[in-house]
Amino acid sequence: MRARIVQPGWSFEYVMWIFTRISGLALILLAVFGVTGALIMGARTQMDLPTLMRWSFFPYPNHVVSSNIPDVAVGWATAYWQIMQMLIIFFAVSHAYNGLRVVLEDFIGQSFSKPMLRGLILLLWMFSLIVAVYVILAS
């Protein structure tokens, strides 16, 4: 059976559908960047799994400081890695809250609680992003 070809309009759901794919791929790419940076900066022998996760998903000096790498803050506290952290946080937080919205809306359906839920998730999303940018810049 051949699928019917439908030209989708740029609805909210369609944009978020595309965004989920792009942000997912971007997160995998950024995780690879983080691990590569860690390996270049001397993590070859001291890496355990929690450390690997920290470097993959939030390469931030105060976050990786409990690992055994000496002078970890020197290599990571640069504008390059701060931009990387902000990209990771933006993609991860948006991907996560959108996923939560999709799953919850599958269960609640069309009712009064739907706009309430969207508003709540929008507030949580903005709050998380602001806190994350503050944490990254204040380090």
Partner: protein, 129 residues
């Protein structure tokens, strides 16, 4: 737009969706799981740093324990690989003909990588690291 389902959870499990259905379910479960424990980790780290809370430090100790890391590794790795498969199939819909093979490919990557991770986690913990 939600459908009005009158099907229970265990009744739904009997639906013969096979691998794609199960990976769809696992994708949702692992996604919500990652959101839950990363959110909890962020909140507990905040309180550990700002107020020196013992409860928050305890939560973070559990979070970094090797036994918990086995679950975290499963959730993150499965969600990443399954999401990669979904994204690739959505970008090139021609490959949807081979979606069962794609699922096999995904698991043939997932099983050795996750197996090695679990092996090293347990070996590390037995060695007293």
């Amino acid at each position: 737009m939600a459908l009005n389902r009158k099907v229970g959870f265990f009744q739904g499990l009997k639906y013969q969706g096979g691998g794609p259905m199960l990976s769809w379910m696992l994708h949702r479960i692992t996604g919500l799981g990652i959101l839950a424990f990363v959110g909890l980790h962020v909140i507990s780290s905040f309180f550990m740093q700002q107020t020196g809370s013992n409860l928050a430090a305890f939560i973070n100790t559990i979070y970094e324990h090797w036994a918990f890391q086995i679950f975290v590794a499963f959730f993150v790795l499965f969600h990443a690989l399954n999401g990669l498969r979904i994204a690739i199939l959505d970008i090139w819909p021609k490959f949807l003909t081979y979606q069962r093979e794609a699922l096999w490919l995904q698991f043939s990557i997932f099983v050795p990588v996750y197996g090695l991770t679990v092996f090293f986690l347990i070996q590390h913990s037995l060695a007293g690291g």
